[in-house]
Subunit: 431 residues, 2 copies
């Protein structure tokens, strides 16, 4: 049986998971793929730090180029994370004629076009199943058997930390700060959670999905992104009353005018299959012109799930090497679509504002919506909990409107003094 | 650009969908796969019947061997359905050195081992993504990138008709017969619905999944199969009270003793992601040793979704032909596992019985359960709606027990005369 040597850049969570998934399943892999995979060298600058797996010390090196330039190593797995130096190492590995498998969404979102070009020029494969949705086989599923579809829309719950926090806020009626502390204690959120809770991680993954499904390069920094830090328990309970769940959604959609996209807390109808995706689970929902709705659900993070996705890519490449098959260097990501880039576009929106409790106020506010040609689907006025004599919360859900038009209208409502504050504005997903 | 000729056996629902999916997406396929696909000949014994797509009449032939033996045709798509003559035609096509793509679960469940052997011997590919879950890319997803996993369990909602009926029964509190009539009127159920509602269609698909995931050949007829015809509205409403939804589930699980499997109406906990799969949608849920939980959701039927899955397989094969790549003739289905075959195995069960309303009866029945070493998780006694003086419904959910042991116990309860009838017994899925 042919042995294929693999070099690994990094041995953190995902690296350990990859190593372990290979140990657990190597007999099955040899049987089904017909190759023996050997992780020959691992970049580890801190060999004394205890890792989740037992690795023979002689496999470690502190010099990435000892791996990249090793003529016996055919596949390089990049699991360091971060844009640099990972992108440089991957570029050099591709130039050295190595196949590259990466789990690095940040590097891929920013440098995907450059890396893929290098892979094509050097006739090697660049694979990245683990970069979006961890263990969920979304990338290869939509890139491969489903080229028989053109996609119109994608929705992703792409970050386990934020989904865990929103789930607990929904279940327990708890507030953001308390749930965050609990999530940090349980290891579901990092000490500095900003990459997750501000939506940046989701924006990286959405950027990759946009290149994959719609053939456009939108840098994560150019995606309108709102995190979950301002989602309040009260909005969650209003959403529940209206028949919605609030999830942090990365969303992109082809419209007649162009491609719209955003990352933001979104009200999902309870009947939407994404509404049932709870706790640390992730899901990607796509709509194709032939297949209609598809959803892929699973663990978006965690060493073993993510490691198994990395390993799946490694096995695919090893299979090709073993069979001396022409490598499938059809690029998965595309950047050449002529579709205009729109940003947020139009949608239904949920709004919560505080109004002075005075006859006629609701009429004034409704007239201002009408003036801006914004139709209202639902309106709810409740007796205020505090200061009940002077202020009252008003909840609206409007029909499709451009976000900029809505913002101008809300600004006017605020300036006219009918609402003392606009407390929340969130996108509402239709089915 | 290379043209690859495809022959099609059948032009019913799935055939029309395949034809249409190709028409809709041929420009995108040429761009991404680099081949031009031409459906050159179609077996159609009734050329005068109007079809959902416009096909030039000269493509039709009434002789399957004009397609199977055409030296210019490289790929044959079998979308006739039924075990025979489809299996014979596929076997002959494989012998003639053609690659075969099929959507035919019945033929594959019964003759998969023979067909796959022929494909291997003739160095051609046999692909069948559309045979399970219609448009959902489950087969290639678990067969390909996830060989990095070994699977422990699979649950499938594999039949759209039955899921539609159970969803409407749950939503409207309607009874089976009324919903079936409505489903037939809307085209979701056939005039003779027995293949769907008796669970046979699900058993075919589960048989394929068992070969795919666990490497065993279990004929559909050997899978303990119960359909939905005896599911009553009252059980659905009790299930709701206990926090469950009733779905027709094809289930298989590796246990220390061997492989258990069944097709039967099953109580799923509301928090299970499969519980949210509604209407005509299908889903397949697997548990892998590395990836943990995964679920694939989408349209399990319908011309275009199913056609897009057929077309995806065709494109994969065409890709290999165009690149002169070594064909991936690693078999997807396996039949050589040494795992003992157990059948239903043990599970939690929901039971509804009618008892005579008399002091001490519940105690007698509970003692009989205890005598058989069956633990009770939940017990509910309600005032009977009819004959309230003489009989009362009793609901039990027991802990894990072998179905045979449970059946013996229930028989004893009936014989002792405490229960006048055992009205329902259904498997309860743990999370």
């Amino acid at each position: 049986m042919k042995t294929i040597k693999v070099g690994m850049l990094g041995i953190g969570n995902v690296g350990s998971g990859t190593y372990l998934a290979l140990e657990m399943n190597s007999a099955a892999i040899e049987k089904s793929a017909g190759v023996h995979l050997e992780i020959a060298k691992i970049l580890n600058r801190r060999p004394d730090v205890k890792r989740a797996v037992e690795v023979p010390r002689e496999k470690y090196t502190s010099d990435p180029y000892e791996i990249i330039n090793d003529p016996e190593i055919e596949i390089i797995v990049e699991v360091m994370g971060g844009i640099e130096p990972a992108s440089t190492y991957m570029a050099d590995a591709l130039r050295a004629g190595k196949h590259v498998v990466t789990a690095n969404k940040a590097a891929l979102a920013v440098n995907g076009e450059m890396l893929q070009k290098l892979a094509m020029e050097n006739h090697v494969m660049l694979r990245f199943e683990a970069s979006v949705g961890g263990g969920i086989p979304i990338i290869n599923a939509v890139a491969d058997p489903l080229v028989s579809n053109q996609y119109d829309e994608v929705l992703g719950i792409l970050n386990g930390t934020t989904n865990y926090i929103l789930t607990k806020m929904t279940e327990n009626g708890a507030d953001y700060d308390d749930v965050l502390k609990d999530a940090q204690k349980k290891g579901f959120a990092e000490a500095d959670p900003s990459g997750d809770v501000e939506g940046y991680d989701t924006a990286n993954k959405l950027s990759i999905l946009i290149s994959l499904l719609f053939g456009k390069g939108i840098l994560p920094g150019d995606i309108p992104t709102t995190g979950i830090t301002s989602v309040s328990g009260i909005d969650i309970s209003y959403a529940t009353e209206f028949g919605y769940k609030i999830k942090l959604i990365g969303h992109a959609k082809k419209t007649p005018d162009g491609l719209t996209y955003s990352v933001e807390p979104t009200l999902l109808p309870l009947a939407h299959p994404m509404a049932a995706v709870s706790n640390e689970f992730n899901a990607v929902f796509v709509r194709g012109n032939a297949v209609d709705e598809l959803m892929f659900y699973g663990k978006g993070a965690g060493p073993l799930p993510t490691g198994s996705a990395v390993l799946g890519d490694v096995i695919d490449i090893a299979n090709c090497i073993a069979k001396k098959a022409a490598f499938d260097i059809q690029p998965l990501l595309h950047y050449d679509s002529k579709l205009p880039s729109i940003g947020e576009g139009s949608s239904q929106y949920y709004m919560r504002m505080t109004a002075i409790d005075q006859p006629g106020i609701l009429g004034h506010i409704a007239s201002t919506f009408a003036k801006h040609d914004i139709g209202l689907q639902s309106v709810m006025q409740r007796a205020g909990d505090n200061d009940r004599k002077t202020s009252v919360p008003l909840i609206f859900i409007c029909y499709n409107v451009e976000r900029q038009v809505l913002n101008a209208c809300l600004e006017e409502i605020r300036e006219e003094g009918y609402a003392t504050s606009i407390d929340a504005v969130m996108r509402v997903q239709d089915r």
